[in-house]
Symmetry: C2
């Protein structure tokens, strides 16, 4: 199989581990539009922490910031981000650009496989026409496939080699090729979808289901708080039923669960369907930063002599525990909520890359807690490191009647601790 | 333990199996307001099919239609229905009546345990005051407990002796007594909730979660149908992800999942919280009968020479497969949809009690398919019996270009079969 050269377009949380994995069985080349990222990878630095050093060294001579370097590949796998824009609409620009660039390289018998999350129909209705700009004929000269990525950033158990891959393609011969490639990627097996749009839809509904379930628990949390019933004890009791799924209240950030539902609702809207549960779930989850800050204000009003919150420390800035990814992190929304209340807000997160935070959000993220006292400590991300050392000694940086908001219930019990 | 006599108030799907179970370890007596039901039980007839003949015979001398017969009991377990009224509001009449009747019997040191599903606060705010009409003092002379029923009608695996029971009580001594009783009921163990309202909330959110998840799949079904993507193939693909929960599209009837969410939303509304996801889910699930009938009309318009649907056969009338329970069955809503279209509608269901259907819905339910031809066969309940014998030979009772709507995908493939 070493004869086939596979080109990976986009070397982020999805593309890089996939490339490392494919490198065991195939010739591979990787391309990323971000020259700084390529320079880092060539120096064996992976800021995403997605692959280990050994794999990184094996790839350092195979990554490029010019797509032309991949022109001798016959299979291309596109793993570029598909985010949303500021109006919560699908932003397919990276995907479209990848297709346009690929159309310049495409040769007879080439296969282009997409892994980026998209709404049903995107591959055939948007990507294929762009690839046809090559002058080649779809399903005659070139074929496409779709195999949704299921990467779970920061999860060391459900890695790409251990998850079932859904595969689909535009014709049976292409499907055989897609299958033969992904069978080398995973030991968990593959699932053939009969149509590309089924594979596209499957990925979306996986993440939609998580988003809606978290939104439901957030809605129940707000309801039970109002009634005066503890949500965590209620969840613990309900979880003793054989078919109860224990989701927990919280913030939904990141590039998947907080984003993919908009791909479905956007397509639905175009087709005249109002996906009300999915939209309501997004609205509820997007509203949680404000809800949590409101709860802190109420607590302060009821329990403190001087209710005013002048200073806040946010513990954690990434969208997920033990993972440097800050895309669409809702801790930034919490930051903005407190800033809007005229509080001075510091952020501490030893896992987050401060340059990344400064570049994308214009905020300073500290590695250690500064020598200051805070009215509120908002612990929003359950990094393992927060459960050890200095971070645990919260009283050291909390004023006497200060408030600890412990979203993830990771801190030791104590006075003035609000749990969700 | 045989010294304590336990009285069961309400001998339906919950009370009867519980009584049979308790009868192994305790003296028990059962009361039901329905004299016909008591007469049946005394003749060893259980129309709900909840317990076997052997257990039935053991109970026949212990059931009464006069609650006074239970006056020597010291523990009462209330298992009356808590349905909704025609405005979708909680109907606590049976529960209140049970409390009022119990207040006439209540003695010093008695314990009253509730199993009926209620919104958080019901036991303490509604039931206790009614019990106090006895003149006895709450938590001094008498105590209460709450242990939500988790009966799954028709499920022979998750029976009351094999499920974890949540227990709670109004004081520690009562809790000990509640625990000692339920430890004899189940081998799966008990879960102590710190407060009664936590146990009440836990039961509600279990069923709310199911309702919302089914509503989500119904919403996705409608969306994907519009986009032209097969829902079942999409679900099969998504289900290959390790954390995907495979719910399927369909009707939500019965006395639990289609009812309990209203208990939560009603209480939420009173507290000023709009539980929008839960309410939207109810609306979506309640709208499915109309949606399915609309799909059949469209199919008929597109595929048949004479589109008019004159005759319809509904296969299945109970709310669930292999279970005679017709409470809140949505097959009746399907029936009404077709009647409103001026179709003649026959119903066949060998599992359903025809007297029950006539009494509660005023409809005739047949045991066998009549010797007629139908434009539409709507197969809505997956009774095992529908997968055998005459029921499978659908062409025998379908006109030439007739339509089969196979909600549960239980029929063999063929022409003119619509699957959801």
């Amino acid at each position: 199989m070493k004869t086939e050269c596979i080109g990976i377009i986009g070397l982020g949380y999805v593309g890089l581990p996939l490339m490392a994995n494919l490198n065991r069985s195939f010739d591979v080349k990787g391309y990323d539009i971000d020259a700084r990222k390529i320079a880092n990878l060539m120096s064996s630095v992976d800021l995403t922490g997605s692959i280990d050093n050994e794999n990184l060294k094996k790839l350092k001579t195979k990554v490029f910031d010019q797509i032309e370097e991949l022109k001798d590949c016959s299979v291309f796998i596109v793993t570029v981000p598909t985010p949303i824009d500021s109006n919560f609409n699908p932003d397919l620009n990276a995907l479209k650009l990848a297709c346009q660039k690929l159309s310049k390289l495409l040769k007879i018998n080439d296969l282009v496989v997409f892994e980026s999350t998209v709404y049903p129909g995107t591959t055939e209705e948007i990507c294929v026409p762009l690839l046809e700009e090559s002058g080649l004929s779809y399903n005659v000269d070139f074929s496409v496939g779709y195999s949704p990525e299921r990467v779970n950033p920061g999860d060391k158990n459900q890695t790409v080699d251990k998850i079932v891959k859904i595969v689909s393609a535009s014709n049976p011969i292409a499907l055989q090729k897609v299958k033969s490639i992904y069978l080398k990627v995973t030991t968990a097996g593959i699932h053939e979808a009969a149509e590309i749009k089924i594979a596209e839809a499957a990925k979306l509904i996986e993440n939609v289901q998580r988003d809606v379930n978290i939104a439901l628990i957030n809605e129940i949390t707000k309801t039970l708080n109002q009634i005066g019933v503890d949500i965590h004890e209620t969840l613990n009791a309900a979880a003793t039923k054989w078919n109860f799924q224990k989701f927990v209240p919280g913030l939904v950030g990141g590039h998947c669960i907080g984003v993919d539902p908009y791909y479905l609702t956007n397509k639905a809207q175009k087709m005249g369907v109002h996906a009300e549960l999915v939209l309501a779930s997004r609205r509820i989850n997007e509203g949680m930063p404000k809800y949590f800050v409101d709860r802190i204000l109420r607590y302060s009003q009821l329990n403190r002599k001087n209710a005013k919150i002048n200073s806040v420390l946010l513990m954690g800035f990434t969208f997920k525990e033990n993972c440097p990814d800050i895309r669409n992190t809702k801790m930034h929304a919490v930051y903005e909520e407190f800033c809007a209340l005229n509080a001075v807000v510091d952020i501490v997160d030893p896992i987050c890359d401060p340059n990344d935070a400064l570049k994308h959000y214009g905020v300073d993220v500290l590695k250690c807690v500064p020598n200051k006292m805070y009215d509120v400590v908002f612990c929003g991300v359950s990094h393992d490191i927060f459960m050890s050392g200095d971070f645990k000694r919260i009283n050291k940086f909390l004023v006497k009647d200060g408030i600890v908001f412990d979203l993830k219930s990771i801190l030791p019990n104590g006075k003035n601790i609000i749990r969700v």
